[in-house]
Assembly symmetry: C2
Homo-oligomer: 195 residues x 2
DNA sequence: TTCGTCATGTAATGGGTTACATGATTAC
DNA sequence: GTAATCATGTAACCCATTACATGACGAA
């Protein structure tokens, strides 16, 4: 989860931990937050796994004294070749792990790096997940409405409306994606090889 | 969390684990779900703590053979006196632990058992929590809007609208609570002791 | 008799959080 | 020189989840 988010952000540009967390907040907004207590250990694991590496091409290392102390302030990370490969793999996964509550936000935030077909499948998966949930709530609500106190009832109805709202949002997004795919041909034949 | 939910439900009527989970789903709806893997250990801990006890007054124990095997199918739990006390304490807590994302739903679902003043304080706490978040998102959005790709932007805006919607909902609820408190006197003096 | 669902439970694991500790850099 | 914020990291813990194991009971 955090791993995917980190890979996605580092694919755009090298960053150090602190900055990564700001970007995480800016990218995921209300959908998810991560603390440093999970970020730094994750960064370490990822470095050990070979997906990211310290970026030396930063040139921000002040010449002279600080270089000798061996311990600089910032540790800027960038994706390695293996990291890029791993990211590409994770981005093709359009399974349940991409549309569950905790994960969907991250996958969606990385949609600009995701294959259009995978995008649609994730959106549809997310939508049917929510439709299931909606039907579940409706069913139990129909069964138990009379027995519920007014607060529980209001909670149920607010929850139901939230789900309905997100379903509508997803439906619009799917529409838009479909239009894009049918308008823009999947693989344009380059001019140079046209008959 | 689960503990509070269990205490709240058992305060209404004795239940066994399986039924408890159904009720949990029906009561919390989209806001939270618990698995048996956390429910049963919790029930055990609560029994060991003396807050709940097996309910023998159930009379559903079939007379005869099964009683001798010592192991019946259902284990019905009810609140003990200590459990009721503990629940009452938890329900007076109108601190941050009552209005965070993971906890608010449970506290709200138990509002009919909660003191009106505590209700308002929790609703207000929840609302300012969300207003903070809303301002945070708005600020970073204003700063970074231009640099965000269209998907990230849509995610941000959808998130922002969700928060705004919940703030409006809370505001309505607070209004209603206030009207109730001013209309219905806090403690009505019983007829018998009126001058 | 076998399938679904009711019913209870455990073990291993997971993916984080909070709180703490430390120090560099910047702005006033 | 001192406060804020930038920056990195660790240790202890928490609250759950998944997967598994077991078995009763009613309906087809």
């Amino acid at each position: 989860m955090l791993e995917l988010a980190v890979l996605g952000l580092l694919h755009e540009s090298p960053l150090h931990g602190y900055e990564l967390r700001q970007r995480l907040k800016a990218t995921l907004g209300t959908f998810r937050a991560f603390s440093y207590g999970s970020l730094y250990p994750t960064l370490r694991r990822m470095r050990d796994a070979g997906w990211i590496a310290e970026d030396e091409g930063d040139a921000e290392v002040v010449a002279g004294a600080p270089a000798l102390t061996g311990r600089r302030g910032k540790v800027v990370y960038k994706l390695t070749a293996e990291g890029k490969e791993h990211l590409a793999e994770l981005l093709t996964d359009a399974g349940p792990s991409a549309w569950e509550d905790e994960t969907f936000g991250v996958h969606f935030a990385l949609f600009s790096q995701t294959d259009p077909e995978v995008r649609v499948r994730i959106l549809e998966g997310r939508r049917s997940r929510l439709e299931e949930r909606r039907e579940g709530v409706r069913a139990t609500l129909a069964r138990t409405r009379a027995r519920l106190d007014s607060y529980t009832l209001q909670l149920q109805e607010h929850g139901l409306e939230s789900v309905e709202r997100e379903v509508r949002w997803l439906t619009e997004l799917i529409e838009t994606e479909r239009l894009k795919t049918t308008t823009t041909p999947r693989k344009a034949v380059p001019h140079s090889v046209r008959p």
